[in-house]
């Protein structure tokens, strides 16, 4: 019930996004017909391509066409490839999801472990080393780190392929590179909230029961500190989908991010519009999932939900 209500509540958001996407794309500099026709085209040639693409139609008709394309693939075709946008997106989405989800899972795992280590021995050598690495992880631009990793692991050591996406080995470097940011964020976050929780009375109770310190941290303290971490993970995942633009370009991975960049530079309006709309749907879903996870982790939020 809650899920349905939340999804229903997202409809106005998605409608607003569809309007914004549609109108803003019109503001992108560059006329698709002019770009397709090339710099040597005459005015008449550009005009005939514009008519062919349906860009002469009134704004409302074009918006209707755009909305229709959501369920009718034939109404939503790319200006450049003439294939349905849904086919283009479906072909690229798996690559983007492999990299984002892979990066997120590895990042969260490493980050949480590092966070626990830091919190258990604050001020120790491990804590200091992790803090330095974390700082580097947060400050290093993904783009730069990616190129450095290609230089080291592909060119100098020859362990992994430099670019492409044809074998699983191609995904190793991008996933590790993209994992640095969530790993860094998580280690700080988990360390901070664990340190805070560690002083709580109920942990003393747990210790008094005779539980080992590991058990106390993992089973009692960590669960409470994860509440904040889950919402950060949601935001991170959204950010990764956006950041895929950069990673995919550096590593030559054919994903949605690169499709979007190419589409913007060539003014392929339908691809831009539906790709952004798809990202908006993802954000709605991610928010929903983080809310559900929070409720599972923290029963108090469930109580509020019932009384509301």
């Amino acid at each position: 019930m809650f899920v349905l209500r939340r999804l229903g509540g997202a409809l106005p958001t998605l409608f607003a996004v569809s309007l914004l996407v549609f109108l803003f794309v019109d503001l992108i500099p560059g006329d698709p017909a002019q770009i397709l026709a090339g710099p040597s085209a005459s005015n008449e040639e550009v005009a005939s391509i514009r008519t062919f693409l349906g860009l002469d139609e009134p704004l409302l008709t074009r918006y209707g066409h755009f909305i229709r394309g959501i369920w009718d693939p034939a109404a939503a075709t790319s200006f450049r490839t003439h294939r349905p946008v849904v086919v283009e997106l479906a072909e690229r989405l798996p690559n983007t999801l492999i990299v984002s989800i892979g990066g997120l899972v590895i990042g969260i795992t490493l980050g949480t472990l590092a966070g626990i280590v830091s919190a258990m021995r604050p001020g120790g050598f491990a804590d200091a080393a992790i803090t330095v690495l974390t700082l580097a992880g947060i400050s290093m631009p993904i783009y730069w780190l990616g190129l450095l990793c290609i230089w080291l692991f592909a060119v100098n050591l020859g362990w992994l392929p430099a670019a492409g996406a044809s074998t699983p080995a191609h995904f190793v470097l991008p996933i590790l590179v993209i994992a640095t940011r969530p790993a860094a964020m998580f280690s700080r976050l988990v360390a901070a909230s664990l340190t805070e929780t560690m002083g709580k009375d109920y942990l003393d109770t747990a210790r008094a029961k005779g539980l080992s310190e590991t058990r106390v941290v993992l089973a009692h303290a960590l669960r409470n500190s994860l509440v904040a971490a889950v919402s950060v993970a949601g935001v991170q995942f959204g950010g990764m989908l956006g950041g895929s633009v950069v990673t995919e370009t550096v590593f030559g991975i054919p994903g949605v991010g690169r499709l979007l960049v190419d589409a913007v530079s060539r003014a392929d309006y339908p691809v831009i519009q539906y790709a952004i709309l798809m990202f908006a749907v993802f954000f709605v879903l991610i928010n929903l999932v983080t809310d559900l996870l929070t409720q599972w982790l923290d029963p108090r939020t469930r109580e509020q939900e019932r009384s509301a």
Binding site: G30, S40, S42, E45, V155, S166, V250, G252
Partner: protein, 510 residues
């Protein structure tokens, strides 16, 4: 009798062996790996606008004519051609017995259907305007095609030799729809076996091919890697045999590799600042002064890393070399430029202008524009480079001259054919003439040149047009880009056309 029979046997055997030998030497072998920077959206020649798409079309489709690596026209499907006496009907005879890779016959009817598809407004081809002069295309019998021209055009061979005029299988286009753009059915030596959007594609020999350019490789594997550094890394790790577009800063690193080199064939890309001819720029003295203010040698070496040759004519090498004329380079003489400006009535600092530059469209475009602004400052012109994204740039340089707010725009021209290039840029009032250039003598010559099919006469006419344009200086002439392609030493017989199309006709691997 016996000896006769045995000698016959020997002869037959020998013939068999030599036949076998020919077969063996022609057997396609080896897999060529090519890393390209641009992601081809479609190989459908009616819509493709990328050199990598041209390269695939050249390998997968056949045209009536084709261009060799120097952009000279050569016969392909065509065996003979003639104009009717009034120049209105152009007739081409084609070789018979060929089929498309799916077994459909490649006859006159198929050829006519392919052209009529491109010329049909409903197809929405981006080349319809360019080919409009072909008029209507009819098949006569099995092997003859008639072009009923919309206007006399003596440059029809150049048009037909472009990969945009490749013959597509219209029946397959109807069945496959947009998928045809990924796996075009053609009659060329190769066919597309696999296409993964944004990742790469693979060409394999077409078993049904017959013709002069049989496949020499077992496969050509393309991977798409837009990031320059990552693409170069593929060459450095030996994961690619050919890398397209080596950026100037990587040329030395690739050259230093033990088993690879950088080839630098000329490109027909003629890069210029195209002026909007009004206000101060309507004065030939000002245009001349601007042209003398630029140190082309210095900028091509210092900024382009050697990937440019100072212009010696408006059109670049390979545009149509039989008609191309070159001139002495424009001297770099800031003192004389200052004097000319003074003569035209501009004191230092009085004359301001702005020019529009794209980002990432041409080699080092942004840096070049900064360097040009500095050069113009040196002769007392306050020049502001307007560096914009590609979308804005294409809008600005595609505007009518009277709507332009800037004074010049950086544009690279790389269109095959003297008539096409010069007519569109310099004929008065034509829809692609963005400078507002108008010269009655040039108009008359261009008109005459378009109608004549006689090479000697064309040479005379276009020689004069090129000379007038070079003297009138409607552009701030800059340079021709040089291509830079990384090629592994195991690759042999590789060639590149001046329009950046990779040619795999004769490529073999060691």
């Amino acid at each position: 009798m016996r000896s006769l029979r045995s000698s016959c046997t020997v002869a037959v055997l020998a013939a068999g062996i030599s036949l076998f030998a020919i077969q063996a030497s022609a057997q396609p072998a080896g897999v060529l790996r090519v890393a390209v920077g641009a992601d081809p959206a479609t190989f459908d020649p009616a819509f493709n606008d990328l050199p990598v798409g041209n390269a695939v079309d050249l390998a997968v489709l056949d045209g009536l004519y084709r261009l060799d690596p120097q952009n000279n026209v050569q016969k392909n499907l065509a065996v003979d051609s003639s104009f009717s006496p009034d120049g209105k009907v152009f007739t081409v005879k084609i070789r018979t017995g060929k089929t498309f890779s799916n077994g459909d016959p490649l006859n006159a009817e198929a050829v006519a259907a392919s052209f009529n598809r491109m010329l049909d407004g409903k197809t929405g081809s981006i080349y319809r305007g360019l080919y409009a002069s072909l008029g209507t295309v009819k098949a006569v019998g099995e092997d003859t095609i008639e072009f009923h021209m919309a206007e006399p055009n003596g440059h029809v061979l150049m048009l037909l030799a472009s990969t945009a005029a490749s013959i597509v299988n219209v029946k397959a286009v109807k069945e496959m729809g947009a998928e045809y753009g990924r796996k075009p059915v053609g009659s060329g030596p190769y066919m597309v076996e696999r296409f993964v959007g944004g990742e790469g594609f693979r060409l394999v020999p077409n078993p049904k091919y017959s013709g002069d350019y049989p496949a020499t490789l077992k496969a050509i594997e393309f991977s798409v890697v837009p990031e320059d550094g990552s693409r170069m890394a593929l060459m450095e790790t030996g994961a690619a045999d050919i890398v397209e577009r080596v950026p100037p800063e990587s040329v030395d690193a690739i050259k230093a590799l033990k088993d690879a080199k950088v080839v630098t064939p000329p490109s027909m890309f003629s890069i210029n600042m195209e002026m909007v001819l009004r206000g101060p720029l309507a004065d030939p003295r000002v245009r001349k002064a601007l042209n003398m203010a630029v140190d082309r040698e210095g900028i091509t070496k210092g900024v382009l890393g050697g990937l440019g040759t100072p212009s010696v004519g408006m059109v670049g090498p390979g545009t149509q070399d039989e008609l191309r004329k070159t001139f002495p380079p424009i001297p770099f003489d800031p003192a004389a430029a200052k004097k000319l400006l003074a003569e035209a009535g501009y004191k230092p600092g009085q004359f301001t202008l702005s020019f529009t530059c794209p980002t990432g469209r041409y080699i080092k475009d942004v840096q070049v524009c900064q360097a040009l602004a500095a050069s113009l400052e040196d002769i007392g012109v306050k020049a502001t480079p307007l560096v914009v994204d590609r979308g804005t740039w294409s809008n600005v340089v595609g505007m009518e001259p009277d709507q332009r707010k800037d004074n010049m725009g950086m544009v690279g021209r790389a269109t095959a054919g003297m008539d096409y290039t010069l007519y569109r840029l310099f004929y008065t009032g034509v829809g692609a003439n963005r400078t507002g250039y108008s010269n009655p003598r040039v108009d008359a010559l261009l008109k005459e040149g378009r109608a004549t099919a006689d090479l000697a006469k064309q040479r005379e006419i276009y020689g004069e047009v090129q000379e007038i344009v070079w003297k009138d200086q409607p552009f701030l002439f800059l340079w021709y880009q040089t291509q830079a392609i990384g090629v592994s030493n195991r690759v042999q017989g590789f060639a590149v056309q001046p329009n950046e199309t990779l040619v795999f006709d004769k490529v073999t691997l060691k």
